[in-house]
């Protein structure tokens, strides 16, 4: 760049401060949002997530346009590099939507399997006296691929 040494240093300093502060804000949002800063205080996800995604996109913009000098390149170069990334918008929507569908299918299968927490002791006043598995559509462990008919619990692996 035909920036003078002083101008160059200014851009660098500005970038350093900006990126550092945005990162700190992001981490602060994550911490206060998850209740680490104020006991018992959580931020709703619909505030946390868009804020963090927006700040990250701004960081990305700053790195590409200032540090990688994209703003000094010809418009054609910038467009030929940046425009294809718009395709990712479709990919993100499509795959996350499909992911939610897997989620619902999984929950349905788990319900059929009655496969959740492994009950290790039968409670005295159980409504479900059908084996040693608590029928619960939760299970953070892996599910079986197809609905099984049996309801005996299998050990989480």
């Amino acid at each position: 760049m035909s920036l003078s040494p002083e101008e160059g240093k200014k851009v660098v300093f500005k970038g350093l401060i900006l990126l550092a502060i945005i990162t700190l804000i992001e981490v602060f949002i994550a911490l206060i949002g998850n209740g680490h800063v104020i006991q018992g205080f959580h931020l709703p996800k619909w505030i946390m997530y868009p804020a963090m995604i927006g700040l990250s996109l701004y960081k990305a913009y700053f790195i590409v346009f200032e540090f990688m000098h994209m703003k000094y390149e010809l418009r054609g170069l910038a467009m030929s590099v940046l425009f294809p990334t718009v395709l990712l918008v479709w990919a993100i929507i499509a795959f996350l939507d499909e992911g939610s569908y897997w989620h619902d299918t999984r929950a349905h299968i788990e319900l059929l399997n009655s496969d959740g927490y492994i009950r290790v002791e039968a409670p005295a006043e159980s409504h479900h006296g059908d084996g040693n598995t608590a029928p619960m559509p939760s299970g953070s462990h892996e599910t079986q691929g197809q609905p099984a008919t049996g309801s005996e619990g299998h050990e989480a692996h």
């Binding site: 990162t23 790195i63 030929s80 929950a107």
Partner: protein, 293 residues
Amino acid sequence: MATDTHAYAEVDQHHGNETSAELWDGGREPFKASYGKLMMWYFLLSDAFTFAGFLIAYGALRFSMPTWPLPDVVFSTFPGGFHHAPLIFVTLMTFILILSSVTMVRAVQEGHRENKKGVVKWMGFTIIGGLMFLSCQAWEWTNLIAKEHMTVSTNPFGTHTTDGVYLNDDGSEAKNEKGEIDAFKAGTTYLIHKNDGEWHKRKFRITSGELKGQIAQEAFGPKAFGGLFFFITGFHGFHVFSGVAFLTVIMLNSLSGLYEKRKNGYEMVEKIGLYWHFVDLVWVFVFLVFYLL
């Protein structure tokens, strides 16, 4: 704008001994950028798609699971035996990478001024930053693998789907360090400990929902978590490692006076600079997806 003037300078320079049609067979450089620089941009574009593919796979799998480990629980250790320091260490890693990106900008600026000493000095700082980042990542991985026993196929970080109270082996309610009853809320992430090769899944009594009153035991978290984490951060780390290797070669070439002779404003330094900033750019998204969301 130096890029422009420098691109023109290159055209002029070649004018003497070649016909201008030979340059790119079109008579002039497209976008007034040299072949190498343009191709670096397109390589980075393709690399961006590769990383995006991995991160989107992470998103799809995460959306498909009923629970997912909370990052502020998984990444809460700090060297020196500190626990309950959520995200502090990765924030430090992020700062290191930002700093090395900034020193790289300085190296490119000095290159445009044909200042060899400046180029070598700032590239040296950049290499140190890259090595520091890699060391941090090595520590992070060691901690996860050796201390917390996470592997590509085992994820000891599970998440509760109900409220509950932990139980001792004799069935009495367990106490935490403060001497209070060790209760937890739905959505809390836990780590299953492994001692002497055996997993210790704690028992608890469910205190909310349909299954209230039943006794259950901790289960492993989503299996894909470990594989995704090690593969994606590993792939990024490999980019950092390759970057450090290239930076070293280019710094030594600068030192030897190779680029000085080319009189093109140390374009090689500019190109590796693009790559290095891209590594920082990818980290912005890896940081967002793995550690923040």
